[in-house]
Amino acid sequence: MKMYLAVLRLRLNMGMQYRAAALAGVATQFFWGFIIIMVFEAFYEHAAQTPPISLKELIQYIWLQQAFLVFVMMWFRDNELFDLITSGNIAYELCRPSGLYGFWYAKLLAQRLSSALLRCFPILIVAYLLPEPYNLEPPPSIWAFLLFLSALLLGLLLLVAISMFLYISVFITLSPMGSLLVFGVLSEFFAGLVIPVPLMPVWLQKIAYVLPFRWTADFPFRVYSGHIPEQDAIIGILVQLSYLTVLVWMGRKALNGVLKKVVVQGG
Protein backbone atom coordinates (compact mmCIF):
# COMPACT_ATOMS: atom_id res chain seq x y z
CA MET A 1 0.00 0.00 0.00
CA LYS A 2 2.78 2.35 0.96
CA MET A 3 4.36 1.77 -2.39
CA TYR A 4 1.24 2.89 -4.23
CA LEU A 5 1.05 6.03 -2.11
CA ALA A 6 4.70 6.71 -2.87
CA VAL A 7 4.06 6.43 -6.60
CA LEU A 8 1.11 8.76 -6.24
CA ARG A 9 3.16 11.30 -4.30
CA LEU A 10 5.97 11.25 -6.82
CA ARG A 11 3.55 11.64 -9.70
CA LEU A 12 1.82 14.54 -7.99
CA ASN A 13 5.18 16.21 -7.50
CA MET A 14 5.93 15.71 -11.14
CA GLY A 15 2.52 16.89 -12.28
CA MET A 16 2.98 20.10 -10.36
CA GLN A 17 5.97 20.91 -12.50
CA TYR A 18 3.76 21.36 -15.52
CA ARG A 19 1.72 24.37 -14.47
CA ALA A 20 1.76 25.99 -17.88
CA ALA A 21 0.36 22.82 -19.45
CA ALA A 22 -2.41 22.76 -16.87
CA LEU A 23 -3.30 26.39 -17.53
CA ALA A 24 -3.36 25.85 -21.26
CA GLY A 25 -5.50 22.78 -20.72
CA VAL A 26 -8.01 24.74 -18.64
CA ALA A 27 -8.27 27.42 -21.32
CA THR A 28 -8.76 24.87 -24.09
CA GLN A 29 -11.43 23.05 -22.15
CA PHE A 30 -13.41 26.23 -21.60
CA PHE A 31 -13.27 27.11 -25.25
CA TRP A 32 -14.27 23.63 -26.24
CA GLY A 33 -17.04 23.43 -23.67
CA PHE A 34 -18.60 26.66 -24.96
CA ILE A 35 -18.51 25.59 -28.57
CA ILE A 36 -20.17 22.27 -27.83
CA ILE A 37 -22.82 23.88 -25.66
CA MET A 38 -23.62 26.36 -28.45
CA VAL A 39 -23.82 23.63 -31.06
CA PHE A 40 -26.26 21.66 -28.93
CA GLU A 41 -28.23 24.82 -28.15
CA ALA A 42 -28.72 25.39 -31.86
CA PHE A 43 -29.87 21.81 -32.34
CA TYR A 44 -32.26 21.98 -29.41
CA GLU A 45 -33.91 25.20 -30.60
CA HIS A 46 -35.05 23.56 -33.78
CA ALA A 47 -35.76 20.11 -32.40
CA ALA A 48 -38.93 18.61 -33.88
CA GLN A 49 -39.63 16.48 -30.84
CA THR A 50 -38.56 16.74 -27.19
CA PRO A 51 -35.02 15.39 -26.87
CA PRO A 52 -34.50 12.58 -24.33
CA ILE A 53 -32.22 14.77 -22.21
CA SER A 54 -32.93 18.42 -21.37
CA LEU A 55 -30.51 21.17 -22.39
CA LYS A 56 -29.92 21.97 -18.73
CA GLU A 57 -28.84 18.39 -18.05
CA LEU A 58 -26.75 18.37 -21.15
CA ILE A 59 -24.87 21.49 -20.05
CA GLN A 60 -24.05 19.82 -16.73
CA TYR A 61 -22.86 16.82 -18.71
CA ILE A 62 -20.55 18.94 -20.85
CA TRP A 63 -18.99 20.95 -18.04
CA LEU A 64 -18.30 17.87 -15.99
CA GLN A 65 -16.83 16.25 -19.06
CA GLN A 66 -14.49 19.21 -19.56
CA ALA A 67 -13.55 19.43 -15.87
CA PHE A 68 -12.77 15.74 -15.54
CA LEU A 69 -11.40 15.28 -19.04
CA VAL A 70 -8.32 13.39 -17.84
CA PHE A 71 -10.57 11.01 -15.89
CA VAL A 72 -12.50 9.98 -18.94
CA MET A 73 -10.24 10.31 -21.99
CA MET A 74 -8.48 7.19 -23.17
CA TRP A 75 -5.88 9.12 -25.15
CA PHE A 76 -4.50 10.63 -21.97
CA ARG A 77 -1.63 8.22 -21.79
CA ASP A 78 1.67 7.55 -20.11
CA ASN A 79 4.29 7.63 -22.83
CA GLU A 80 6.87 6.57 -20.30
CA LEU A 81 5.23 3.18 -20.01
CA PHE A 82 5.21 2.78 -23.78
CA ASP A 83 8.90 3.67 -23.88
CA LEU A 84 9.58 1.25 -21.09
CA ILE A 85 8.13 -1.58 -23.14
CA THR A 86 9.56 -0.70 -26.52
CA SER A 87 13.03 0.24 -25.29
CA GLY A 88 13.46 -2.72 -22.98
CA ASN A 89 13.81 -0.66 -19.81
CA ILE A 90 11.05 -2.87 -18.54
CA ALA A 91 13.91 -5.13 -17.49
CA TYR A 92 14.19 -3.03 -14.37
CA GLU A 93 10.47 -3.14 -13.64
CA LEU A 94 10.71 -6.91 -13.72
CA CYS A 95 13.36 -6.87 -11.00
CA ARG A 96 10.99 -5.30 -8.51
CA PRO A 97 9.40 -7.33 -5.74
CA SER A 98 5.93 -6.15 -6.69
CA GLY A 99 3.40 -7.30 -9.22
CA LEU A 100 3.70 -5.30 -12.41
CA TYR A 101 -0.06 -4.89 -12.80
CA GLY A 102 -0.54 -3.20 -9.45
CA PHE A 103 2.48 -1.01 -9.91
CA TRP A 104 1.48 0.23 -13.35
CA TYR A 105 -2.13 0.62 -12.31
CA ALA A 106 -0.98 2.89 -9.50
CA LYS A 107 1.24 4.85 -11.88
CA LEU A 108 -1.57 5.41 -14.37
CA LEU A 109 -4.09 6.26 -11.69
CA ALA A 110 -1.68 8.70 -10.11
CA GLN A 111 -1.02 10.38 -13.42
CA ARG A 112 -4.70 10.99 -14.05
CA LEU A 113 -5.34 12.11 -10.48
CA SER A 114 -2.47 14.57 -10.48
CA SER A 115 -3.55 16.14 -13.75
CA ALA A 116 -7.18 16.31 -12.69
CA LEU A 117 -6.34 17.96 -9.37
CA LEU A 118 -4.66 20.82 -11.18
CA ARG A 119 -7.36 21.25 -13.80
CA CYS A 120 -10.79 20.42 -12.42
CA PHE A 121 -11.19 23.08 -9.77
CA PRO A 122 -10.71 26.20 -11.91
CA ILE A 123 -13.14 24.80 -14.47
CA LEU A 124 -15.73 23.78 -11.89
CA ILE A 125 -15.56 27.12 -10.06
CA VAL A 126 -15.82 29.28 -13.15
CA ALA A 127 -18.56 27.08 -14.62
CA TYR A 128 -20.59 27.61 -11.44
CA LEU A 129 -20.26 31.37 -11.73
CA LEU A 130 -21.35 31.55 -15.38
CA PRO A 131 -24.69 33.24 -16.13
CA GLU A 132 -27.82 31.16 -16.77
CA PRO A 133 -28.38 28.95 -18.69
CA TYR A 134 -24.71 28.14 -19.26
CA ASN A 135 -23.79 27.55 -15.66
CA LEU A 136 -23.04 24.37 -13.80
CA GLU A 137 -25.63 23.80 -11.07
CA PRO A 138 -25.27 21.90 -7.82
CA PRO A 139 -26.70 18.38 -8.01
CA PRO A 140 -30.38 17.97 -7.05
CA SER A 141 -29.62 16.40 -3.67
CA ILE A 142 -26.73 15.56 -1.41
CA TRP A 143 -27.47 11.92 -2.19
CA ALA A 144 -27.10 12.50 -5.89
CA PHE A 145 -23.80 14.24 -5.18
CA LEU A 146 -22.44 11.35 -3.12
CA LEU A 147 -23.56 8.86 -5.73
CA PHE A 148 -21.92 10.99 -8.40
CA LEU A 149 -18.65 11.05 -6.47
CA SER A 150 -18.55 7.29 -6.07
CA ALA A 151 -19.61 6.75 -9.67
CA LEU A 152 -16.91 9.16 -10.89
CA LEU A 153 -14.16 7.49 -8.87
CA LEU A 154 -15.27 4.01 -9.87
CA GLY A 155 -15.44 5.24 -13.44
CA LEU A 156 -11.84 6.39 -13.14
CA LEU A 157 -10.75 3.02 -11.76
CA LEU A 158 -12.61 1.34 -14.58
CA LEU A 159 -11.00 3.52 -17.23
CA VAL A 160 -7.53 2.78 -15.89
CA ALA A 161 -8.36 -0.94 -15.95
CA ILE A 162 -9.44 -0.61 -19.60
CA SER A 163 -6.37 1.42 -20.50
CA MET A 164 -4.14 -1.30 -19.05
CA PHE A 165 -5.10 -3.40 -22.07
CA LEU A 166 -3.66 -0.68 -24.25
CA TYR A 167 -0.29 -1.08 -22.57
CA ILE A 168 -0.50 -4.85 -22.65
CA SER A 169 -1.18 -4.75 -26.40
CA VAL A 170 2.09 -2.85 -26.92
CA PHE A 171 3.97 -5.92 -25.72
CA ILE A 172 2.72 -7.64 -28.85
CA THR A 173 2.62 -4.83 -31.40
CA LEU A 174 5.61 -2.84 -30.08
CA SER A 175 4.01 0.37 -31.31
CA PRO A 176 1.35 2.17 -29.33
CA MET A 177 -0.13 4.11 -32.24
CA GLY A 178 -2.47 1.45 -33.62
CA SER A 179 -3.99 0.36 -30.34
CA LEU A 180 -4.15 3.95 -29.21
CA LEU A 181 -6.25 4.95 -32.21
CA VAL A 182 -8.56 1.96 -32.04
CA PHE A 183 -9.02 2.06 -28.28
CA GLY A 184 -9.21 5.85 -28.27
CA VAL A 185 -11.90 6.23 -30.90
CA LEU A 186 -14.01 3.33 -29.68
CA SER A 187 -13.92 4.27 -26.05
CA GLU A 188 -14.44 7.97 -26.65
CA PHE A 189 -17.47 7.37 -28.83
CA PHE A 190 -19.11 4.74 -26.69
CA ALA A 191 -18.40 6.64 -23.49
CA GLY A 192 -20.61 9.41 -24.84
CA LEU A 193 -17.82 11.94 -25.17
CA VAL A 194 -18.62 12.79 -28.79
CA ILE A 195 -22.40 12.61 -28.63
CA PRO A 196 -23.97 12.07 -25.20
CA VAL A 197 -25.36 8.54 -25.06
CA PRO A 198 -29.03 9.59 -24.58
CA LEU A 199 -28.88 11.46 -27.91
CA MET A 200 -27.67 8.44 -29.85
CA PRO A 201 -30.12 6.43 -31.98
CA VAL A 202 -31.70 3.64 -29.98
CA TRP A 203 -29.81 0.82 -31.69
CA LEU A 204 -26.50 2.54 -30.97
CA GLN A 205 -27.53 3.15 -27.37
CA LYS A 206 -28.08 -0.57 -27.01
CA ILE A 207 -24.51 -1.24 -28.07
CA ALA A 208 -23.20 1.50 -25.78
CA TYR A 209 -25.07 0.04 -22.83
CA VAL A 210 -23.45 -3.36 -23.28
CA LEU A 211 -19.89 -2.07 -23.51
CA PRO A 212 -17.96 -0.97 -20.41
CA PHE A 213 -16.97 2.45 -21.78
CA ARG A 214 -20.10 4.40 -20.90
CA TRP A 215 -19.68 3.55 -17.22
CA THR A 216 -16.55 5.69 -17.13
CA ALA A 217 -18.11 8.99 -18.22
CA ASP A 218 -21.70 9.00 -19.36
CA PHE A 219 -22.98 7.29 -16.23
CA PRO A 220 -21.42 9.49 -13.51
CA PHE A 221 -22.27 12.70 -15.38
CA ARG A 222 -25.90 11.78 -15.71
CA VAL A 223 -26.06 10.80 -12.06
CA TYR A 224 -24.86 14.30 -11.21
CA SER A 225 -27.54 16.05 -13.21
CA GLY A 226 -30.23 13.73 -11.89
CA HIS A 227 -30.98 12.35 -15.35
CA ILE A 228 -30.34 8.93 -13.86
CA PRO A 229 -32.48 8.61 -10.72
CA GLU A 230 -30.83 7.63 -7.44
CA GLN A 231 -32.19 4.11 -7.38
CA ASP A 232 -30.85 3.34 -10.86
CA ALA A 233 -27.58 4.96 -9.86
CA ILE A 234 -27.06 2.45 -7.07
CA ILE A 235 -27.65 -0.41 -9.49
CA GLY A 236 -25.26 1.30 -11.92
CA ILE A 237 -22.55 1.46 -9.28
CA LEU A 238 -22.93 -2.26 -8.74
CA VAL A 239 -22.53 -2.77 -12.48
CA GLN A 240 -19.39 -0.62 -12.40
CA LEU A 241 -18.00 -2.73 -9.58
CA SER A 242 -18.57 -5.98 -11.43
CA TYR A 243 -17.06 -4.59 -14.63
CA LEU A 244 -14.05 -3.43 -12.64
CA THR A 245 -13.56 -6.85 -11.06
CA VAL A 246 -13.81 -8.66 -14.36
CA LEU A 247 -11.53 -6.24 -16.24
CA VAL A 248 -8.83 -6.22 -13.56
CA TRP A 249 -8.91 -9.99 -13.45
CA MET A 250 -8.64 -10.25 -17.22
CA GLY A 251 -5.91 -7.62 -17.31
CA ARG A 252 -3.82 -9.47 -14.76
CA LYS A 253 -4.21 -12.69 -16.72
CA ALA A 254 -3.27 -11.02 -19.98
CA LEU A 255 -0.26 -9.25 -18.50
CA ASN A 256 1.05 -12.43 -16.89
CA GLY A 257 0.55 -14.13 -20.23
CA VAL A 258 2.63 -11.63 -22.20
CA LEU A 259 5.29 -11.40 -19.49
CA LYS A 260 5.97 -15.11 -19.81
CA LYS A 261 6.75 -14.61 -23.46
CA VAL A 262 8.50 -11.28 -23.30
CA VAL A 263 12.12 -11.25 -24.40
CA VAL A 264 14.22 -8.28 -23.43
CA GLN A 265 16.78 -8.05 -26.18
CA GLY A 266 20.07 -6.28 -26.39
CA GLY A 267 22.23 -4.69 -23.72
Binding site: K2, M3, L5, A6, V7, L10, N13, M14, Q17, E80, S87, G88, N89, A91, Y92, L94, C95, R96, P97, S98, G99, F103, K260, V263, V264, Q265, G266, G267
Partner: protein, 325 residues
Protein backbone atom coordinates in the same frame (compact mmCIF):
# COMPACT_ATOMS: atom_id res chain seq x y z
CA UNK B 1 24.64 -19.68 -3.44
CA UNK B 2 24.24 -19.54 -7.20
CA UNK B 3 23.93 -22.72 -9.12
CA UNK B 4 23.30 -23.05 -12.84
CA UNK B 5 22.98 -26.35 -14.56
CA UNK B 6 22.54 -27.00 -18.26
CA UNK B 7 20.92 -23.64 -19.03
CA UNK B 8 20.02 -23.17 -22.69
CA UNK B 9 18.14 -20.37 -24.33
CA UNK B 10 17.35 -19.71 -27.96
CA UNK B 11 15.71 -16.73 -29.61
CA UNK B 12 13.57 -16.78 -32.67
CA UNK B 13 14.39 -13.83 -34.86
CA UNK B 14 12.59 -12.70 -37.99
CA UNK B 15 15.01 -11.85 -40.74
CA UNK B 16 14.85 -10.34 -44.15
CA UNK B 17 17.34 -8.77 -46.45
CA UNK B 18 17.23 -5.11 -47.28
CA UNK B 19 15.17 -3.54 -50.01
CA UNK B 20 11.57 -2.69 -50.69
CA UNK B 21 10.77 -5.94 -52.42
CA UNK B 22 11.94 -7.97 -49.49
CA UNK B 23 9.96 -5.73 -47.17
CA UNK B 24 6.81 -6.33 -49.18
CA UNK B 25 7.45 -10.02 -49.21
CA UNK B 26 7.88 -10.00 -45.44
CA UNK B 27 4.31 -8.75 -45.09
CA UNK B 28 3.06 -12.15 -46.16
CA UNK B 29 5.79 -14.53 -45.27
CA UNK B 30 8.47 -14.14 -42.69
CA UNK B 31 11.53 -16.25 -42.32
CA UNK B 32 12.72 -16.97 -38.85
CA UNK B 33 16.10 -18.04 -37.69
CA UNK B 34 16.78 -19.52 -34.35
CA UNK B 35 19.74 -18.17 -32.50
CA UNK B 36 21.12 -20.30 -29.74
CA UNK B 37 22.11 -17.62 -27.29
CA UNK B 38 23.12 -20.06 -24.58
CA UNK B 39 24.06 -23.70 -24.88
CA UNK B 40 24.27 -25.85 -21.82
CA UNK B 41 25.78 -23.36 -19.39
CA UNK B 42 26.65 -24.64 -15.92
CA UNK B 43 28.55 -23.03 -13.08
CA UNK B 44 28.34 -22.37 -9.36
CA UNK B 45 29.26 -19.28 -7.46
CA UNK B 46 29.88 -19.15 -3.73
CA UNK B 47 28.86 -16.38 -1.40
CA UNK B 48 31.21 -13.42 -1.29
CA UNK B 49 32.85 -14.08 -4.64
CA UNK B 50 33.43 -11.46 -7.29
CA UNK B 51 33.08 -13.07 -10.67
CA UNK B 52 33.93 -11.42 -13.94
CA UNK B 53 31.77 -12.65 -16.75
CA UNK B 54 33.44 -11.93 -20.06
CA UNK B 55 33.01 -12.68 -23.72
CA UNK B 56 32.83 -10.89 -27.05
CA UNK B 57 29.74 -9.01 -28.23
CA UNK B 58 26.71 -11.23 -28.59
CA UNK B 59 28.24 -14.06 -26.60
CA UNK B 60 25.28 -14.41 -24.26
CA UNK B 61 26.50 -12.49 -21.23
CA UNK B 62 23.45 -10.30 -20.83
CA UNK B 63 21.17 -13.25 -21.53
CA UNK B 64 22.72 -15.13 -18.62
CA UNK B 65 22.33 -12.11 -16.36
CA UNK B 66 18.70 -11.75 -17.39
CA UNK B 67 18.03 -15.40 -16.67
CA UNK B 68 19.72 -15.13 -13.30
CA UNK B 69 17.67 -12.06 -12.43
CA UNK B 70 14.41 -13.72 -13.37
CA UNK B 71 13.57 -11.63 -16.42
CA UNK B 72 14.00 -14.37 -18.99
CA UNK B 73 12.82 -17.92 -18.86
CA UNK B 74 15.42 -20.37 -20.22
CA UNK B 75 14.35 -23.16 -22.58
CA UNK B 76 15.94 -25.88 -20.53
CA UNK B 77 18.12 -26.22 -17.48
CA UNK B 78 18.04 -25.60 -13.77
CA UNK B 79 19.00 -22.46 -11.93
CA UNK B 80 18.88 -22.16 -8.18
CA UNK B 81 19.91 -18.96 -6.47
CA UNK B 82 19.60 -18.76 -2.69
CA UNK B 83 17.09 -21.56 -2.89
CA UNK B 84 14.86 -19.79 -5.43
CA UNK B 85 14.28 -20.45 -9.08
CA UNK B 86 14.49 -16.86 -10.37
CA UNK B 87 11.75 -16.91 -13.01
CA UNK B 88 9.35 -18.96 -10.91
CA UNK B 89 9.63 -17.23 -7.53
CA UNK B 90 10.31 -13.85 -9.13
CA UNK B 91 8.68 -11.49 -6.65
CA UNK B 92 10.06 -13.33 -3.62
CA UNK B 93 13.49 -13.69 -5.13
CA UNK B 94 14.19 -10.22 -6.47
CA UNK B 95 14.17 -8.69 -2.98
CA UNK B 96 17.57 -10.29 -2.52
CA UNK B 97 19.26 -9.07 -5.64
CA UNK B 98 20.31 -5.78 -7.14
CA UNK B 99 20.75 -5.37 -10.86
CA UNK B 100 22.45 -2.69 -12.91
CA UNK B 101 21.87 -2.80 -16.65
CA UNK B 102 24.46 -0.38 -17.95
CA UNK B 103 22.46 0.44 -21.02
CA UNK B 104 19.13 1.05 -19.35
CA UNK B 105 17.77 3.41 -16.78
CA UNK B 106 15.64 2.87 -13.73
CA UNK B 107 15.54 6.45 -12.49
CA UNK B 108 12.58 8.72 -13.11
CA UNK B 109 13.63 11.11 -15.79
CA UNK B 110 11.85 14.22 -14.60
CA UNK B 111 12.39 14.28 -10.86
CA UNK B 112 15.46 14.71 -8.66
CA UNK B 113 17.46 11.52 -8.18
CA UNK B 114 16.74 11.45 -4.48
CA UNK B 115 12.99 11.16 -5.21
CA UNK B 116 13.63 8.03 -7.24
CA UNK B 117 15.63 6.64 -4.33
CA UNK B 118 12.76 7.32 -1.93
CA UNK B 119 10.34 5.57 -4.23
CA UNK B 120 12.62 2.53 -4.39
CA UNK B 121 12.78 2.60 -0.62
CA UNK B 122 8.99 2.23 -0.49
CA UNK B 123 8.91 -0.37 -3.25
CA UNK B 124 11.38 -2.56 -1.39
CA UNK B 125 9.86 -1.68 2.00
CA UNK B 126 13.19 -0.63 3.48
CA UNK B 127 12.81 0.69 7.06
CA UNK B 128 13.56 4.42 7.37
CA UNK B 129 16.50 3.90 9.72
CA UNK B 130 18.18 1.40 7.45
CA UNK B 131 17.49 3.52 4.40
CA UNK B 132 19.11 6.52 6.03
CA UNK B 133 22.36 4.75 6.79
CA UNK B 134 22.52 2.99 3.42
CA UNK B 135 21.86 6.14 1.46
CA UNK B 136 24.46 8.10 3.42
CA UNK B 137 27.03 5.46 2.67
CA UNK B 138 26.09 5.33 -1.01
CA UNK B 139 26.17 9.09 -1.42
CA UNK B 140 29.52 9.31 0.26
CA UNK B 141 31.32 6.47 -1.50
CA UNK B 142 29.90 7.10 -4.94
CA UNK B 143 30.35 10.87 -4.51
CA UNK B 144 26.79 11.83 -5.24
CA UNK B 145 26.49 14.82 -2.86
CA UNK B 146 26.34 17.33 -5.69
CA UNK B 147 23.98 15.49 -7.96
CA UNK B 148 21.24 13.80 -5.93
CA UNK B 149 19.15 16.95 -5.93
CA UNK B 150 19.20 17.38 -9.71
CA UNK B 151 16.67 15.86 -12.08
CA UNK B 152 18.04 12.89 -13.98
CA UNK B 153 17.64 14.62 -17.33
CA UNK B 154 20.33 17.10 -16.35
CA UNK B 155 22.97 14.52 -15.46
CA UNK B 156 25.81 13.33 -17.62
CA UNK B 157 26.09 9.66 -18.51
CA UNK B 158 28.74 8.99 -15.89
CA UNK B 159 26.85 10.81 -13.17
CA UNK B 160 23.70 8.96 -14.05
CA UNK B 161 25.49 5.63 -14.01
CA UNK B 162 26.73 6.21 -10.48
CA UNK B 163 23.17 7.03 -9.44
CA UNK B 164 21.92 3.87 -11.16
CA UNK B 165 24.38 1.80 -9.19
CA UNK B 166 23.28 3.46 -5.96
CA UNK B 167 19.63 2.87 -6.87
CA UNK B 168 20.27 -0.84 -7.26
CA UNK B 169 21.72 -1.10 -3.78
CA UNK B 170 19.17 0.76 -1.69
CA UNK B 171 17.61 -2.45 -0.43
CA UNK B 172 20.95 -3.96 0.60
CA UNK B 173 20.87 -6.91 -1.78
CA UNK B 174 22.94 -10.01 -1.08
CA UNK B 175 23.82 -10.53 -4.73
CA UNK B 176 24.41 -7.86 -7.32
CA UNK B 177 24.49 -8.33 -11.05
CA UNK B 178 26.34 -5.61 -12.88
CA UNK B 179 25.86 -5.66 -16.62
CA UNK B 180 28.50 -3.32 -18.01
CA UNK B 181 28.44 -0.90 -15.11
CA UNK B 182 31.39 1.17 -16.28
CA UNK B 183 30.08 2.22 -19.69
CA UNK B 184 30.70 5.90 -20.22
CA UNK B 185 32.52 6.52 -16.97
CA UNK B 186 35.62 8.69 -16.80
CA UNK B 187 38.78 7.38 -15.16
CA UNK B 188 37.97 8.92 -11.78
CA UNK B 189 34.43 7.55 -11.69
CA UNK B 190 35.61 4.16 -12.82
CA UNK B 191 38.02 3.95 -9.96
CA UNK B 192 35.36 5.17 -7.54
CA UNK B 193 32.95 2.51 -8.75
CA UNK B 194 35.55 -0.25 -8.54
CA UNK B 195 36.57 0.84 -5.08
CA UNK B 196 32.96 0.84 -4.07
CA UNK B 197 32.30 -2.65 -5.39
CA UNK B 198 35.32 -3.91 -3.49
CA UNK B 199 34.13 -2.24 -0.30
CA UNK B 200 30.64 -3.71 -0.31
CA UNK B 201 32.05 -7.10 -1.21
CA UNK B 202 34.47 -7.04 1.70
CA UNK B 203 32.35 -5.36 4.32
CA UNK B 204 28.94 -6.80 3.60
CA UNK B 205 29.94 -10.03 1.91
CA UNK B 206 27.92 -9.16 -1.18
CA UNK B 207 28.34 -11.57 -4.07
CA UNK B 208 29.12 -9.71 -7.28
CA UNK B 209 28.71 -10.89 -10.84
CA UNK B 210 30.02 -8.42 -13.35
CA UNK B 211 30.09 -8.30 -17.11
CA UNK B 212 32.28 -5.81 -18.85
CA UNK B 213 34.45 -5.21 -21.86
CA UNK B 214 36.96 -3.24 -19.85
CA UNK B 215 39.60 -5.74 -18.81
CA UNK B 216 40.92 -3.29 -16.24
CA UNK B 217 37.65 -3.74 -14.36
CA UNK B 218 38.20 -7.45 -14.34
CA UNK B 219 41.80 -7.13 -13.32
CA UNK B 220 40.98 -4.73 -10.51
CA UNK B 221 38.03 -6.67 -9.15
CA UNK B 222 37.56 -10.26 -10.13
CA UNK B 223 39.36 -13.22 -8.61
CA UNK B 224 37.55 -15.49 -10.96
CA UNK B 225 36.58 -15.12 -14.59
CA UNK B 226 34.06 -17.02 -16.61
CA UNK B 227 34.57 -16.77 -20.34
CA UNK B 228 31.69 -17.38 -22.67
CA UNK B 229 31.59 -17.32 -26.44
CA UNK B 230 28.81 -18.10 -28.88
CA UNK B 231 26.71 -19.31 -26.00
CA UNK B 232 29.17 -21.88 -24.68
CA UNK B 233 31.22 -21.78 -21.53
CA UNK B 234 34.89 -21.72 -22.48
CA UNK B 235 36.86 -21.00 -19.37
CA UNK B 236 36.07 -20.87 -15.70
CA UNK B 237 38.87 -20.21 -13.28
CA UNK B 238 41.02 -17.53 -11.77
CA UNK B 239 42.74 -14.80 -13.64
CA UNK B 240 46.28 -15.88 -12.73
CA UNK B 241 45.76 -19.32 -14.28
CA UNK B 242 44.53 -17.67 -17.41
CA UNK B 243 47.57 -15.47 -17.49
CA UNK B 244 49.89 -18.42 -17.01
CA UNK B 245 48.14 -20.38 -19.68
CA UNK B 246 48.42 -17.70 -22.27
CA UNK B 247 50.74 -15.16 -20.78
CA UNK B 248 54.09 -16.90 -21.36
CA UNK B 249 54.92 -14.18 -23.82
CA UNK B 250 56.76 -11.08 -22.71
CA UNK B 251 57.64 -7.98 -24.62
CA UNK B 252 61.14 -6.54 -24.40
CA UNK B 253 61.80 -3.05 -25.70
CA UNK B 254 65.43 -2.02 -25.97
CA UNK B 255 66.95 1.35 -26.90
CA UNK B 256 70.57 1.41 -27.93
CA UNK B 257 73.27 3.52 -29.56
CA UNK B 258 72.95 3.59 -33.32
CA UNK B 259 73.53 0.19 -34.87
CA UNK B 260 72.62 -0.57 -38.44
CA UNK B 261 73.11 -4.37 -38.30
CA UNK B 262 69.86 -6.23 -37.91
CA UNK B 263 69.71 -8.18 -34.67
CA UNK B 264 68.60 -11.78 -34.49
CA UNK B 265 68.23 -13.68 -31.25
CA UNK B 266 67.04 -17.28 -31.16
CA UNK B 267 63.66 -17.86 -29.46
CA UNK B 268 62.45 -14.31 -30.06
CA UNK B 269 60.53 -12.51 -32.75
CA UNK B 270 61.18 -8.89 -33.61
CA UNK B 271 57.98 -6.89 -33.63
CA UNK B 272 59.71 -3.77 -34.89
CA UNK B 273 63.23 -2.70 -35.54
CA UNK B 274 65.00 0.61 -36.17
CA UNK B 275 68.70 1.46 -35.92
CA UNK B 276 68.01 2.82 -32.40
CA UNK B 277 65.30 0.56 -31.02
CA UNK B 278 64.01 -2.98 -31.17
CA UNK B 279 60.81 -4.50 -29.80
CA UNK B 280 61.00 -8.24 -29.20
CA UNK B 281 58.33 -10.70 -28.31
CA UNK B 282 59.74 -13.68 -26.39
CA UNK B 283 58.33 -16.94 -25.28
CA UNK B 284 59.54 -17.39 -21.70
CA UNK B 285 59.21 -21.14 -21.96
CA UNK B 286 61.84 -21.24 -24.66
CA UNK B 287 64.18 -18.48 -23.62
CA UNK B 288 64.67 -16.50 -20.41
CA UNK B 289 64.48 -12.69 -20.54
CA UNK B 290 67.90 -12.44 -18.90
CA UNK B 291 69.44 -14.47 -21.70
CA UNK B 292 67.93 -12.18 -24.29
CA UNK B 293 69.28 -9.14 -22.52
CA UNK B 294 72.74 -10.65 -22.27
CA UNK B 295 72.57 -11.41 -25.94
CA UNK B 296 71.53 -7.87 -26.72
CA UNK B 297 74.21 -6.24 -24.59
CA UNK B 298 76.84 -8.31 -26.36
CA UNK B 299 75.75 -6.96 -29.71
CA UNK B 300 74.85 -3.36 -29.02
CA UNK B 301 75.40 -0.63 -26.52
CA UNK B 302 72.19 -0.73 -24.50
CA UNK B 303 70.69 2.55 -23.28
CA UNK B 304 67.35 1.43 -21.87
CA UNK B 305 65.44 -1.83 -21.52
CA UNK B 306 61.83 -2.47 -20.47
CA UNK B 307 60.12 -5.81 -19.99
CA UNK B 308 56.35 -6.01 -20.13
CA UNK B 309 53.91 -8.79 -19.54
CA UNK B 310 51.41 -9.20 -22.28
CA UNK B 311 48.39 -7.06 -21.42
CA UNK B 312 45.32 -8.99 -20.35
CA UNK B 313 43.47 -7.49 -23.28
CA UNK B 314 45.79 -9.30 -25.69
CA UNK B 315 45.32 -12.53 -23.79
CA UNK B 316 41.60 -12.19 -24.25
CA UNK B 317 42.02 -11.50 -27.95
CA UNK B 318 44.22 -14.57 -28.19
CA UNK B 319 41.63 -16.58 -26.30
CA UNK B 320 38.86 -15.45 -28.60
CA UNK B 321 41.02 -16.45 -31.54
CA UNK B 322 41.87 -19.78 -30.06
CA UNK B 323 38.25 -20.67 -29.52
CA UNK B 324 37.34 -19.15 -32.86
CA UNK B 325 34.69 -16.83 -31.48
Amino acid sequence: MIHLEGISKSYKIAKRSSGLRQAAKALFYREHTTINALKDISFSIKQGEIVGYIGPNGAGKSTTIKIMSGILVPDTGKCTIMGYTPWKDRTQYVKNIGVVFGQRSQLWWDVPVIDSFELLKDIYKVPQQEYKSTIDLLIETLELQEIVQSPVRQLSLGQRMRCEIAASLIHNPKIIFLDEPTIGLDAVSKIAVRQFIKTINKEKGVTVILTTHDMNDIEALADRVILIGKGTLLYDGNLEELRKQFGTTKIITADYAKNTDPIQIPGTAALSWTPERIVLSIDTERVKPSEVITHLSNKVELLDVTIETKPIEDIIVQLYKEYQI
